[in-house]
Symmetry: C2
Subunit: 330 residues, 2 copies
C-alpha cells in the first residue's frame, strides 16, 4: 500500500516537475525584465547549479528580508504604529488619566501629529502602554483580531493586502530553489508572528524582530509568559546582524531591504565568502505606492543608496521594475 501510494505520488511529482520546468521559463511575473530581476535570477541559478564554483548547499541558502517598506508598505507611518494608536483608543476607557497626559491626550483628540511630536520617547510610551502588561497569548489574540479587520486610512485595504506582489513571488521563487526565507525587521517580533505564515509563508521560527522582555510565571497553576514594559532588543541598523546571528546562527547569502536601517544587514550578508546577493527596494512610485528616499522620516534611504551604487548591489526602481504593486483584490 505504501509503495503504491508512492508510485502514485511519483506520477504527480513528475507532472509537477514538468510544470515547474515550464514555469521556470518565466519566474517572477510581476517583475519587469529590468536589471534587478536579471540579477536575482542569475544569482539563484549560480548558487543552485551543482558543480558550479558558486554552488551553495541547501542548508546554507539563507535569505533575509526586512519587512516594513520591503515586504509591505510603511507610509504614512509604520503599520505597527497604526495598531498601537488603535489600541490606545480601545484601552482609553480603562485609563481615564490619559485625557490629561501626553502623548495620549493628543491621540485621543485625533491629533496624531501632536502626539508624535514627542519623538521616540512618545512612541516608546505609546508602545509600552499598548504592547506590555498582558500575557503573550492575550497579545497574540489582539494582533490577530486587529490585522484581520483594520484598514489603512489612505487605501482602505487591509494591511495584509498592502504586501508587495513581486516580493511574494520572490519569496516563493527562493523557497522553490531551496532557500529558507527569514524576516529580519525593526518591527515587533510578536506583532509579526501571528500573521507572517499565512501572508508570506514564513513560520514564526523564521521571524526576527525587536522585542520587549517576557517573564515566566505560574498563574492559578498554569504557566504563562507576561510581557514586560522593558526593551529587550532593538533589531535595527547594527542590531540586525546581531539579531541574525542570535536567531539564525549563520550568515545569510542574500539580503533584501529598503532603508538605512538595513544597511548593516546588507553589509554583513555581502561580506561573507562566496557569491552573495544584496538588494534595496527604492520607493519611486508616488502614483501606485509612495515615492521617498533620502529625506523621509519613515524608511529613510540615503547612506545605503550610496553604498549600493559603490558596491554594485541591486536596486529596485519600483516604478520601472514592478508591473504590479499589491496582489489583485479578491
Amino acid at each position: 500500500m505504501f509503495a503504491i501510494r508512492n508510485v502514485l505520488s511519483c506520477f504527480v511529482l513528475i507532472l509537477y516537475a514538468t510544470a515547474a520546468t515550464a514555469a521556470t521559463v518565466q519566474p517572477l511575473p510581476s517583475w519587469n525584465d529590468a536589471p534587478s530581476k536579471q540579477a536575482i535570477v542569475s544569482f539563484v541559478e549560480r548558487v543552485t547549479t551543482e558543480g558550479s564554483a558558486d554552488y551553495v548547499p541547501t542548508a546554507e541558502r539563507i535569505a533575509v528580508f526586512d519587512n516594513d517598506g520591503t515586504l509591505w508598505s510603511e507610509q504614512p507611518m509604520y503599520f505597527q504604529l497604526f495598531f498601537a494608536l488603535d489600541r490606545v483608543k480601545a484601552l482609553a476607557p480603562h485609563h481615564p488619566e490619559w485625557k490629561d497626559k501626553e502623548p495620549f491626550a493628543s491621540l485621543l483628540k485625533g491629533d496624531v501629529k501632536a502626539a508624535l511630536a514627542g519623538g521616540d520617547e512618545a512612541i516608546l510610551e505609546i508602545v509600552m502602554a499598548t504592547h506590555a502588561g498582558m500575557t503573550t497569548a492575550a497579545f497574540e489574540k489582539t494582533v490577530k483580531d486587529w490585522i484581520a479587520t483594520a484598514k489603512h486610512p489612505n487605501t482602505g485595504k487591509l494591511y495584509t493586502e498592502m504586501v508587495y506582489q513581486p516580493m511574494l513571488e520572490l519569496l516563493a521563487y527562493l523557497r522553490a530553489n531551496g532557500f529558507k526565507t527569514f524576516i529580519v525587521s525593526g518591527g515587533g517580533i510578536e506583532f509579526m508572528r501571528p500573521w507572517t505564515e499565512a501572508v508570506y509563508g514564513i513560520p514564526p521560527e523564521q521571524v526576527v524582530g525587536s522585542s520587549i522582555k517576557n517573564r515566566f510565571e505560574m498563574r492559578g497553576g498554569a504557566p504563562v509568559l507576561v510581557r514586560l514594559a522593558e526593551i529587550n532588543f532593538i533589531n535595527d541598523k547594527g542590531g540586525k546582524p546581531v539579531g541574525i546571528h542570535s536567531h539564525i546562527g549563520r550568515r545569510p547569502i542574500a539580503a533584501f531591504g529598503n532603508s538605512d536601517g538595513d544597511l548593516q544587514m546588507l553589509q554583513w550578508t555581502a561580506a561573507g565568502d562566496g557569491l552573495r546577493f544584496a538588494l534595496l527596494v527604492h520607493h519611486t512610485d508616488a502614483e501606485r505606492e509612495w515615492a521617498y528616499d533620502r529625506k523621509s522620516h519613515i524608511g529613510r534611504l540615503d547612506k545605503a543608496l550610496d553604498e549600493a551604487e559603490e558596491k554594485g548591489w541591486s536596486v529596485v526602481d519600483m516604478k520601472r521594475d514592478w508591473n504590479v504593486i499589491y496582489p489583485p483584490e479578491k
Copy 2:
C-alpha cells in the same frame, strides 16, 4: 531529462519507502521495550495519524531537547566548563596576572576544585575570560578546533562521542515523522552551534541557549560581530520558556529534559492545548554512565521528578530503558 531523472529517483523513493516501512516495525532499537519507549511511540503515532482527534499538522510538530544530561553526558562537570578550563590554560601566556588571581591561579595549578570554590562568580569570571573579547568567527573556530580533539578525562572519548545513542535515534525518529527538533539548553548558544548539525542533525537556527551580548563593528572596512563580557540571556529554568518563545515563537508539543532546570520547559510544553509529551531522563546507571538525581550539584533532578510522577510525564530509567548508552566506537 528532468522527467526521466524524476522517474529514476521515484524508484529509489519506492525502494526507500519499502525499507522504511520495514524499519518502522522496530523504531528506537537502543530503547528497551519499557513504558518510556511505548509512550513515545504511542504519542508519535497519535499526533501523526490524519483524521485522529490528536492529529497535529507538520508545521506545529515542534520538539525541544535540553542538551547537557539529555543529549550528552554532563559529569563530572558540564563539558563547556572543560572547554573553558582548557582555554584558560591556552590563554595563560597572555595573562601573566592570572598567576596570582583567583580563580585562575588555582586552575593553572590544576586545582579545579579550589578554583570552583568561588561558586557562580568564579565560573562567570572564567566564562567571560574565555568566551568574550573576540569576534564570533574567531570563537567559532576555537570551539570547532577544541571539540574535534579534546577528550573527556574519565572516558578518554571525544565529547561528541558521549552523546546518547538512544536520543540520536529519538531525534531521527521524530524528524522522520515530520517533527522539527530544537535544542533548548542552559549551555552557550555559540558553544553548541558549531557542532550540533554534524552530531545531532540540528542546524544552528534550531539551537537555543544562553548567550553573551554581541556588538556589530566595522574593522578595516569589514563588518564583524564582537563578543562582549556581558550576559545577554540565561536560558535555564523560567528562562527556557522565554527562550523558546523568543526563538521558536510557538509552543512545542514535546519536551525532553533531565533536571530541575528543565522543569519550566516541560510545564510550558505540557500546558498547551491538545496532546502533549514530556519526558525526563533519569541518570540511574553508575556502571555505564553516572547515577545522580536529587542531591547532585550538576543536573539536579528533584522537583521535576516529583512533578513527573504527579503529572504522569515519562521518566527514562537509563539503566532499565536503554540497552546502549553511547554510539558504537568507530
